[in-house]
Subunit: 287 residues, 2 copies
Amino acid sequence: MPDFLIAPDPSLPRLTRAVSGIDHNGAAVDLRVVEERPLTIFLNAQEIVTAMTIGDYPEELAIGYLLNQGMLHRDDTLTGVDYDEELDVVVIRTGRVTDYEEKLKKKTRTSGCAVGTVFGDMMETLEGLTLPTAEVRTSWLYGLAKQINTVPSLYLEAGAIHGSVLCRGDQPLVYMEDVGRHNAVDKIAGWMFRNAIDPGEHILYTTGRLTSEMVIKTASMGIPVLASRSGFTAWGVEIAREVELTLIGRMRGKRFVCLSGAERLVMDVDVDTIEDEGAKHRRKGAD
Amino acid sequence: MPDFLIAPDPSLPRLTRAVSGIDHNGAAVDLRVVEERPLTIFLNAQEIVTAMTIGDYPEELAIGYLLNQGMLHRDDTLTGVDYDEELDVVVIRTGRVTDYEEKLKKKTRTSGCAVGTVFGDMMETLEGLTLPTAEVRTSWLYGLAKQINTVPSLYLEAGAIHGSVLCRGDQPLVYMEDVGRHNAVDKIAGWMFRNAIDPGEHILYTTGRLTSEMVIKTASMGIPVLASRSGFTAWGVEIAREVELTLIGRMRGKRFVCLSGAERLVMDVDVDTIEDEGAKHRRKGAD
């Protein structure tokens, strides 16, 4: 079993619920389905957003969301992180006085799940950004995929959930899951902030598609490599090339496609030794 | 080939882009990836939202989005529907004077993709709602899945995209695709409004997960049956039961699970005659 710093805990009762129904034979079935609950995020006195989330790591989600929206700065000092489980509210407090009233007026609905993401602003944060040089060995990619897809997870337990994993070399470190795939990435951003992690030499693995927003988030987190089981959008590829992020998609079995930043790739493994993904493979898309 | 009223047109050059990269062998590959572009929706003089969309059926998307947000009413008369392709803007005009400034201040980030969805408001629209009685034959479900999964689509061409299909009996009628799965449903809502379709006796099929928002949208569209290849969230199931919507998920090959409204199901087919989904099956999740 890999030595994750944070791995999913499918046994947590708060995250799934047992429901009954019937199957294709008309027989009664019981299954576990993932929870989905609102979490309202405040930055100081201002209500920023209500996210629909599975409910774990609310503090990391709130901090990461605010960071990835540019509302919390890398050099901000947090003077309070208060989560109220009964009210489903997180309040993040900073020494700096904040007011995002104007920014909150602008609404962008992204391809996958963010509210209030201001693309113009997010693109601005990428201006002048230089992602660290790094190498990505293909042996790491294969090893990571195998570890991530086999470690116990809510996905394997209940399905209908996305995962994002912060990795370093061939080691998956922090595996976050959420009903919203952007929430999973935001939780990782929040964890990195709280633990003062240098993003260089890290790889972000996601089960979700490589859309513009996912690429922008990864780049603004300073992570040079983004890999996914899923496919690409044209704008996601375009932005990755602009910021020189290594973008790897359609990672299934021995296969993958790299559409940006291939110069970081080190092909150190004979692909004929890698098993292709069979029908038995349980990880499908979370959709 | 089924006789769709609207089917995907993967040959439209505006919807995909050719990109080059390398594959797992280090060999050069060319592939088509889906576009993702902003579309800003105005209701009369008010800017409502910017959606990231693949770009087809912008007028249906705008109308459906506004309907599903409760900003456009079923009995509204549209006095103008103006799409400007160069500006990526749609303006919907109504005889009724509209002002959603207060509503726009409230931001909810859902599990999958909607911005500015106000859950409280959406739940209110469901109060007192009675979905029509209807029957759903399992032979229809199997026939629909087969037709939808084999008709040429952007999904089969380029992947990384979601689909929603309005069906009646065993006939798929309108198949919309989009990078955002809620956009695909909104396009169907817009099409139904423009064509004055009675939602009773219809089935909505989606490739996406059965989250709270997807269930709320389907119910508020008046459609009594929602079916998906993907899984459930607990809140999605709970709302479906409250409004007595028939909710069918995990439809793959002969298998499915019905977690709400099973009284509408008519099991008219011997499941042993249905082929199970094999490894060759090309439709995976869009993630």
